[in-house]
Every structure is written in C-alpha cells, then in structure tokens.
C-alpha cells in the first residue's frame, strides 16, 4: 500500500517543483483541446441553433441520430481521421499524421457532434420563443440566430465547457492520430495511460491531479459567470 502513498507524495513534488516535462505535456494538452473546442464550437453552435429552430421533414429521426453521434467513441473518430490522413489516404500528401495538427483535427471532429447536439437541443426547446420575438421585431434569419445565441449564452458556454472537458479527457483519438511521441505529441491522457503501463505512478498521478484541477477551474469559472447573469 505504501507505494500508492509514495506515488502521491512524489506526484505533489513533481507539480510544485514545476517539472518541465509535465508542464510541457499539460500545455500541449491545453493547446490541442482548446483549439479543437473553439473550432468545433464556431461551426457547431450556429449550425445547431439554426437546425433547432428549423422545421423540416424527419426532424425526429434527425434528432435521434444527432444524439447518438454525440457519444461517438473517441477511438472511432481517431481511426477515421487516421485512415484519412494516412500516407495512402485521401489527405496523405499533407503528411499530418502523428502531428499536433492531426490531434486538433481529430478532437475537433470528436466534439463537433457533441457541441452540435447540445446547441440543437437547447435551441429546439428555448430558441423558438426567442425567434418568434425576433421575427415580430423585424430581424432576419442571421439576426435571429445571433439573438438566440446571445440570449442563451450561459447555456451555450456550459456546452463549450462540456466540449472542452470531453476533448481534454479523451485518450483514444489523440493516441491513434498523435502516436504519443515524446516531446512532440504527448498529451496528459496518453502519458497517463503509458506511465501506468510502465508502472511509473508518480508522473501518472501528478497528471491525473492536474487534469482534475483543469476541469474544476473551467467549471467554476462557468458557474460563477452563470450566477452573475
């Protein structure tokens, strides 16, 4: 049992001594997942909002498919992106596989359905009323959607935080397309997974603690912002 306690002690030491390797990994994780979340949100939120208020044939089936896609396994996304980017794949020439860019692409595709689905559901339930008011006041389609986004901005921010949490905590997609290459494509989750299999617990525990801390900070920020609203 001692090795667990020992692992924690060493982990804390690693964190408070600002171990360079650890912090490089943390920064890369933050960079990849933040970029992916921003990209996915910019595309998925306006799309989700506009599909939510639209009337169209087969909307129910569309909803069900969307909600299924929200929980698409990260390894599946990783695999699909890897196939597309592999040397023989359609985008093989770009030589993106095993780079930071590939990880960003994979995570963007991973959280896009999530972000879309959450915005879609939100807009379906609460966007209609706002859209009606917007129409009676003379807003066009674009103006209505911008208004809905602004009116529901707290809920949308929660969506963004949820997307970010999914991105930064997933391991399958970045492992497959990034390859967990030291000093290059090694992020928090892939390192934890590797350290665990190597029996190097302090580093794994330290990164686990940091991952939890990041999640805590993000959600606290959102929480205090939503109370202000």
């Amino acid at each position: 049992m001692d090795y667990i306690l020992d692992g924690f002690k060493q982990a804390i030491n690693l964190i408070i001594s600002f171990n360079k390797e650890i912090f490089d990994i943390v920064f890369l994780s933050l960079f990849v997942s933040t970029t992916a979340t921003v990209l996915a949100s910019m595309i998925s939120i306006p799309l989700g909002i506009s599909f939510g208020i639209k009337k169209f044939r087969g909307k129910r089936l569309f909803s069900r498919i969307t909600y299924t896609m929200m929980s698409i396994p990260s390894v599946v996304v990783g695999l699909l992106v890897a196939i597309t980017l592999s040397r023989r794949g359609p985008f093989g020439r770009l030589e993106l596989l095993y780079t930071t860019k590939a990880m960003i692409i994979a995570q963007t595709f991973l959280v896009m359905p999530l972000s879309f689905g959450l915005s879609f559901g939100l807009s379906k339930s609460r966007g209609k009323e706002i859209q009606k008011v917007a129409i009676t006041l003379g807003a066009n389609k674009y103006q209505s959607i911008m208004l809905i986004i602004r009116e529901l901005k707290v809920d949308i921010l929660v969506n963004v935080a949820t997307s970010f949490s999914r991105a930064i905590s997933e391991v399958g997609a970045v492992m497959i397309v990034g390859g967990n290459i030291k000093y290059h494509t090694r992020v928090i989750t892939t390192t934890i997974s590797m350290m665990n299999s190597m029996g190097d617990y302090p580093m794994a525990i330290a990164l686990g603690i940091i991952l939890l801390l990041i999640s805590f900070i993000v959600h606290s920020a959102i929480y205090s912002y939503s109370k202000e609203d």
Partner: protein
C-alpha cells in the same frame, strides 16, 4: 394596413379553434377583439403576425400575401411578453438596430418612447428581470419604436395598475393618430375596448359573432 381574412380555419388535432368566413380589419383604425378564454384571440393574432402558417384560408395585407417586406412593417406584442437579457434601452432599440438605423436616431427614438410611457427610470435595468407590469410597458415601447404600419397587441395592459393604463392607452392613440398606424388589440376589458376602439369584434369558440 388593411387586413382581409377569407375562409380562415385553424385546427389543433381534432379541435377547430378558428373558423372565420370573412373578416375585414380597416386601415388606420383601432379594432378591438374580445371574447372568453380559449376563444382563439391569440391564435388569430399569431396568424395575422405571420408566426403560424398552419391554417386553411387566406390572410391578405393590403390585398397581398405575406412576405418579408410586410413582416417588417408590423409587430406583435405578446400576451406573455419576452424581454431580452439586456437593458431596457437596448430592448427598445432592437427593432431599430436590426433595420440598420443610425445610432443618433436610435437614441432619440428610444428616449422619446421612454418619456411617452414614463419609464425613464427603467432605462438601465435588465429587461428579463422586470416585473410583469414593467415588462408590458417596455414591450409596448419596443413595438411602437419603429412606427409599424400594423400593431398587434395581445392583452397589453393585463398586468398594469389602473392609474397607469391611461398612459398606455394614450400612447396607443397617439401612435394611431400621428403615424396613421393600424391597431388590433385583444382585451378582456370592455371599457378599454370602448375607450380605444373604432370597431369591436367578438370571438366565441373561434367564430366571429355580432
């Protein structure tokens, strides 16, 4: 704006909630719609406002079918008004902003309406946090601010205290006289209908009765 309704029928499931053979609402006049709860008043206003297109029959605006141009010339103040999560000033400015009106002009119009409705003290408050009556005052100001040709009001004074109702009625009359605006107002207050309206229409179970 003149409204002509022909053979209008609206059903929810099996239930027919509107059944109007023919109805003309005169331009530049104030028309009152009265009738018991559930008689179809709000449904009718929603249809005229172009928010509901699931009905049979025809609604003509100056003889034409609805399009985005006509939409921009009218507005509906809802029975349960929804104000945005921004200041009262910004709420009232919204219809002008979406029409690309210049900042200076917007300021002038908004301040004018705050004054007419005596709600200057609400100016910097957040719209979504106002009381029921305050919300109705601001919603009316927001509907009047761009001088629509057609103003549809769904029980606009249901939460307003008796002393203040006069102010709102004055504002509606002023708009009707000075801007030649057509008004259709739903109200449960028969005295209000008598004070304001040139014509009164009575609805019962979705039908117009005389």
């Amino acid at each position: 704006m003149e409204i002509q309704i022909k053979n209008l029928a609206k059903t929810y499931g099996e239930k027919k909630v509107l059944d109007i053979e023919s109805l003309n609402l005169e331009r530049e006049k104030i028309t009152g719609i009265i009738g018991p709860n559930g008689s179809g008043k709000s449904t009718l206003l929603n249809i005229i406002a172009g928010l509901d297109d699931k009905y049979d029959g025809q609604v003509l605006y100056n003889g034409e079918l609805i399009d985005s141009d006509i939409r921009k010339k009218m507005t509906l103040v809802f029975q349960k008004a929804y104000l945005f999560k921004r200041t009262v000033y910004k709420n009232i400015a919204y219809p002008l902003e979406v029409r690309g009106v210049k900042e200076e002009k917007i300021k002038q119009k908004v301040l004018e309406l705050l004054k007419i409705l005596e709600i200057e003290d609400l100016k910097m408050k957040i719209g979504s946090k106002l009381s029921g009556g305050e919300t109705q005052k601001v919603a009316l100001a927001r509907g009047l601010v761009f001088n629509p040709e057609l103003l549809l009001l769904d029980e606009p004074t249901s939460n307003i205290d008796p002393e203040y109702i006069e102010h709102m009625e004055k504002a509606i009359l002023k708009y009707n006289k000075e801007n030649k605006g057509t008004v259709i107002i739903v109200t449960h207050n028969i005295n209000q209908a008598k004070r304001l309206c040139d014509n009164i229409i009575k609805l019962e179970r979705g039908r117009v009765i005389n």
